[in-house]
Symmetry: C2
Subunit: 215 residues, 2 copies
């Protein structure tokens, strides 16, 4: 796959890629995406600006390349306990998202901004190819939790007629909706409530109400 190919002309300075991405990463975390200047990335990476644009046609493209690289692998537990596994996974996602809020900003405590994630979404909307890349990124990231749901379905724990995608949309959707739209914080309690609520709707056996508070 990673064939050297030995093409015709002067070879690319592969070393430069790393320097650029590293410089970009630092600059992004220092300043955030808006005060992130391509000229300065080039300067810090000891590279001409044109070289930079030969690799990533726009700033947005560089951003997704950066995020794709940084993206810490969210670990997926698979203990067979669907509820617990989902809570673990979504909590990790929420923690990551909360961390993305403050990237490159003065650490205001009441920060309700979606930070880098919002810029990523906007970049995906601006350039079709960036959109494809972002979707591929998410598909890769979501493959494991989706498999979790499929396996629970095979064990007979989920209703037939409700697709795993739909269930996952509800879970991830609520999280991203909070992050991107309402801006409300996403705490651990919220994640648990959410999972419980969604699983009530998705479970095959009518579960008892997880929070029986009838007085």
């Amino acid at each position: 796959m990673t064939a050297p190919a030995a093409r015709r002309g002067r070879p690319r300075n592969e070393d430069a890629d790393g320097r650029i991405l590293e410089a970009a990463r630092k600059l992004l975390f220092e300043r955030g995406y808006d005060r992130f200047a391509m000229d300065e990335v080039a300067a810090r990476a000891q590279v001409a600006k044109t070289t930079l644009y030969r690799r990533w046609p726009t700033k947005d493209h560089l951003l997704v390349a950066l995020v794709a690289r940084i993206q810490d692998e969210v670990p997926v537990a698979d203990t067979g306990d669907l509820r617990r596994d989902l809570v673990v996974y979504l909590t990790a996602v929420a923690t990551g998202l909360n961390g993305m809020r403050a990237v490159g900003r003065p650490g205001a405590p009441g920060d309700r901004s979606a930070g880098v994630v919002a810029e990523l979404v906007a970049a995906a909307a601006r350039h079709p190819d960036v959109g494809d890349a972002v979707r591929a990124l998410f598909a890769r990231r979501n493959a494991l939790p989706l498999a979790l749901l499929d396996r629970a379905r095979e064990r007979g724990e989920l209703r037939t007629g409700c697709s795993s995608e739909l269930v996952f949309d509800q879970l991830a959707g609520a999280l991203y909706y909070r992050l991107l739209v309402t801006g409300e914080p996403i705490g651990a309690e919220y994640v648990e409530e959410l999972v419980d609520q969604v699983l009530v709707g998705a479970a095959a056996t009518p579960r008892p109400d997880p929070r029986p508070e009838r007085t």
Copy 2:
């Protein structure tokens, strides 16, 4: 509330506001947000660029003002049938969102972009005050469907212990997640499946499976 106030200096040309917003609206729909130049808005509205910036400190601010103005009131039916009312409302929202995709773009049929909505979200993330405005916008828009849920709860149709906000997060979240992240189209069937699924989880009386397909 709309006191003339009769302040001290030269009064604002209120007429200009309308001209600017109208010119901006047209330009936005012609070109989309990225090829939308403030200079041209000023030119079309017969106004100096500085005047423009005296009213909206950034392009992002002008955008939200524009969207807040355009925002067609989504009608809320309240027939007492929660499922039907939610489907009606969310379908209207989905239609609106789908319409937002193509704004200012060559009408590519397979358009997966989130268009203006993504820019709105990014703008909200960039400027705290824009974020507040956008959240106020959504709060206003969502007040009625939330009331719908509250009323159903009063009728005893919803489980205790699951907040209306959480239910609404699942519904709206799935829609926005599809629009902004996965980019998948949001059809009428999807909305119905979603509502059914969420209501199974939220209903007080354990509903029968809405799609019994067990063979």
